[in-house]
Amino acid sequence: MLMQSSLRAKLQEAFRLRMYFYMTVTAVAFAALLLQLINLQLIQGKEYKAKARLNMESNVPIPAARGDIYDRNFREGEKNVVIVSNRPSFNITTIPAKFKSKKKLYEILDLLSRLFAINKDEIINEINNGNPWERVVLKEDVEFDTIVKLASHQDRFPNIDWEDASVRVYNFSEMFAHVIGYVGSISKDEYRKLKLEGYKHYQKIGKSGIEKQYDRLLRGRDGYVRRIVDVRQRTEGEEVGQRPIAGENLVLTIDYNIQNTLYEAMKDMKGGAIVLKPATGEILALVSKPDFDPNLIISKNNADVIKQLQKDRERPFLNRVIQSKYPPASTFKLVTAVSALETEKATPEKSYYCPGKFTLKGYKDHDFYDYDVHGTVDLYWAIAKSCSVYFYQLGLLTGPTIIMRYAEDFGLNQKSGIDIPGEVAGFVPSRQWKYKTFGQPWFDGDTVNMAIGQGFLHVTPMGMCEFVSALVNNGIVYQPHVIKEIRTNDNSRVLKTFPRKKIREIPLSPLTLQAVKKGMRMGVMSGTSGRLGYLKVPVAGKTGTAQTRSIRQEKYSQHAWFVGFAPYESPPENAVVTVVLVEYGVAGAASAVPIAEKVYTRLNDLGYFSVAPAAAAQQPEAKKAGAVPGKQVMLPQPQVQPKKNAAAPGVPGQAPQKKPVAVKKTD
């Protein structure tokens, strides 16, 4: 019993000890909690208060209006040609998480899709992939009347909301499609890339053309209303935040009148054309056909229209001036001529006899045909009449390496750096390239083909335009561009002008230039571009007819080229280069020349060639807002100088129909 009780006392004592330990541990734990509380609430209290404030403030965006876009004749305070502007509109929106169930949400979407032609599946997809508390736009660009109706039937459309929106208006629809481009909802990829620059997931972004290139200037900065919100973005109170800052306005180098003329001239064709002032690189007109109406595709409602356009085999989104490559055909004869003259392989007086075909001697003789029998021709006549036999031989005489080098010097295998995104470079072959690609050396047949712009060569119309610019501008090429100046949104101040930027200088002897230009002039006077001979302004030009293997039914198809400039023999400050390419045209002379004819007539009517050379030389870029060359448009000045026109043949000779040049690969 005693033993028992002593053991009991021992156990009791051990228990007490352990309970003391237990109590200590408990006390320490409570002390730790207390210390952390002191740390959070008393020591770091201020920082956490700031964090709590950040949590409950939400900035609701007020969309900024995008900048307007004007043509080159813009003058402050006058009625101007507005190419792109905005109009106020409304979007129908909702917050998906506000619906009690997915079923209810789908019911409402169903009802709305019947009323407004909403693409339901796409919106459901968007909702399922996003944060349910983030606002989703169901239908963009709705009229005020619709909103009124919606508001008066709120009971039928629970949780359906609307917001202000600013819709882009392209006033000339398709006419500027490939210059201006269009805007669209920011894509996931774009958002990921541009998030850090302040782009928001709900914003519109330029998708192509100027809208894309100058998006950062055009978009402005969204303002916001500061709201006190809960975690579900419900508003408890509102504060005025920041007002939106509208985007900056752009003035194009493009002249609406010329663009219009060019666009009308190419109405039913396929191809691209560009009108450019080589003295500055300013583009006066740029048209690519087929095209699209940006007004129809900017809204998210029209996603299927975009898809359809993207699937279109005619590829309306393709800017054929800068994104499409073609064999330069006979227009390349000018390059051959320049390289032969510059390297002194030939003089302009060098003559060959053209019997209508040329036989290349070799292991197996091969005939290259011309479209006509030209007799004995010198370089001038060979250019004017586009005599292929002459250039076959001139090409062989000069050698492929030199021709390639000149083609590369002229930048035919480079991008021009035009301020429209998506440009591609042309392609100039080389011996190594051929060996790598085909495992064959460069044959003389390849040289013969290349001399007349067929074979492996592929250039963009932009590239050809730069080449002609170099001829006109004594070897100097300025970067082509479509933006003249950036202005504040109220047009009151010019923020930035774009002085000409030299991108290339090719040392060319005046004799060479003179000879090639003379040939081109003769082509207009009595050669392949004869139709232009009667114009008041002296034009010089070269036609081309390119053959390409086509994926279409016909085995071969033809692209018609015209490259030219005017006025002939006047200082380069006044000159305007025109390059026209018509896909599947009949022949250069028949399809492309009439377009150039209309353009030059219009340019002349507008007085582009009547500017005093000295004045133009002083201010070629027209930096000041007032000194726009368009100013001279209204001046009733007599047309200067058609001294050579008088000598033009009374009836402009019908351009000779070109027979397809039989250029076939023997190997």
């Binding site: 051990a14 309970m19 419900r234």
Partner: protein, 439 residues
């Protein structure tokens, strides 16, 4: 003597008042958490909690009257019934957030795992009382361990990781208070630590793509080497143990006990490393360190800390806490109710609540000291342990020094089962206190 009036006549009013005060703070906070400042409506959870409280209060008084010693007599019955309930719940329970922890009775639902905690404490207290003199032996620990692991495994199956994990500190504390050999307990803790730390460190380094290595890491990375080393160690342990069996020499103990601990720990770690999938190990890591998953549980902790910190000394005022009112604070009426207190009533309110809890725990310890019998003492300390770990883990989670477990704050968090369980605990406590002089 199943019932007696002594329970009521000698009732500890201070404890009752402290508990009632705590529950009322809880109900006020549930009201605040359920209030929608924009629609100006309340979700009405506070009314349900009030009903649960009234029901719980009656149960508390009831348990104060029943002789707690009869709880010991029926401890096995209670335990078995609760285990059956747990199994039924795990199979047929209504899934809430993928966890089958609730038995639905239409108007209300109960969570048997809450009551299981108390059931385990009662049966452990009874077992330890019976085995008081033998508990220093290692083999006596097998039965308590089994009693604990059975409900734990069922709850892990629900799966409710947070609730399951709390059984381990309850077991260890009960064994400690019950008189188990400290070297045994330490060995168990060490084995478990080694078994968990090795795979966790490896998984963590792999997850964050840690560079560099050293001798120790290379050793732990090589599973086969680990097995061989621990096997050799185990062999040495066995040999020394056998030697010790034949000739009792004290220094041998110094070899085979650490040997057993290390080898068993390493072997278990290999088993864990091989058996658990990577995502499971990562889940445990996130449980230990929510910062690894900033979108998930890490977000909750950040919001909770903002709520508490922004409360300052006096708080933002009742119904004026932006974090809770505007919904940034998650699970604000249950898991993070303490953050609502600290935000709206500041450091002052939090301190009052901590003091109330401190008093309740202190009363439990006091009761354990004063109990006339071992069963009562063990029961009181076990109940104190349940309440203490809930408070420590829940508040620790809210202030960011404990992992996120989803354990409720007793008396305060919304939830009928936990409130009832806690009130029953207090009822038993009142009972033990009332009978401390009765023989």
């Amino acid at each position: 003597m199943l019932f007696s009036k002594e329970g009521l006549s000698k009732i500890d009013y201070a404890l009752v008042i402290a508990v009632v005060l705590t529950v009322f703070i809880g109900i006020l906070m549930i009201y605040s958490a359920g209030f929608d400042p924009i629609d100006k409506v309340n979700n009405g959870l506070y009314r349900k909690q009030l009903l649960w409280f009234i029901f719980g209060f009656i149960l508390m008084i009831g348990l104060a009257i029943v002789n707690y010693q009869s709880l010991g007599e029926f401890s096995l019955h209670i335990y078995v019934i609760l285990i059956i309930l747990l199994i039924i719940t795990t199979i047929f329970g209504t899934p809430v957030r993928n966890t089958r922890a609730w038995l639905n009775f239409g108007v209300f639902s109960i969570q048997p795992s809450e009551f299981m905690k108390l059931g385990l404490v009662i049966i452990l207290a009874k077992y330890l009382e019976i085995r008081e003199r033998d508990i220093t032996r290692l083999r006596e620990l097998v039965v308590p361990a089994l009693l604990t692991f059975i409900p734990m495994l069922i709850i892990l199956k629900q799966p409710d990781f947070g609730t399951a994990i709390i059984f381990i500190p309850i077991l260890l504390t009960m064994l400690f208070v019950g008189g188990a050999d400290i070297s045994h307990l330490l060995s168990i803790v060490l084995i478990a630590t080694i078994a968990m730390v090795v795979p966790m460190v490896l998984t963590y380094r792999e997850w964050i793509g840690a560079e560099g290595s050293n001798f120790l890491l290379d050793f732990f990375q090589d599973v086969n080497l680990l097995l061989v080393v621990s096997g050799v160690l185990l062999l040495v342990t066995l040999v020394t143990f056998v030697l010790h069996f034949f000739s009792v020499k004290k220094f041998l103990r110094k070899i085979y006990i650490p040997g057993a601990v290390i080898s068993l720990g390493l072997m278990t770690s290999v088993v864990i490393q091989k058996l658990f999938k990577v995502y499971q190990k990562r889940r445990i890591l996130v449980f230990l360190n929510p910062d690894l998953d900033p979108q998930g549980s890490g977000y909750n902790i950040i919001q909770s800390k903002i709520a508490i910190g922004s409360g300052g000394f006096f708080g933002k005022g009742f119904l004026k806490g932006s974090q809770s009112q505007l919904g940034f604070l998650p699970e604000k009426s249950s898991d993070f109710i303490f953050s609502v207190v600290a935000e709206e009533w500041g450091f002052f309110g939090a301190l009052v609540l901590l003091a109330l809890f401190g008093f309740i725990i202190f009363r439990c310890v006091q009761t354990a000291f004063e109990s006339k019998d071992k069963f009562g003492a063990l029961l009181a300390s076990g109940i104190g342990t349940i309440l203490f770990f809930h408070i420590l883990i829940n508040i620790g989670m809210a202030v960011g020094i404990m992992p996120v477990t989803g354990l409720p704050l007793c008396f305060v968090s919304y939830g009928g089962s936990n409130l009832m369980m806690s009130m029953i605990c207090i009822g038993i406590m009142l009972n033990i206190r009332a009978r401390k002089f009765v023989y």
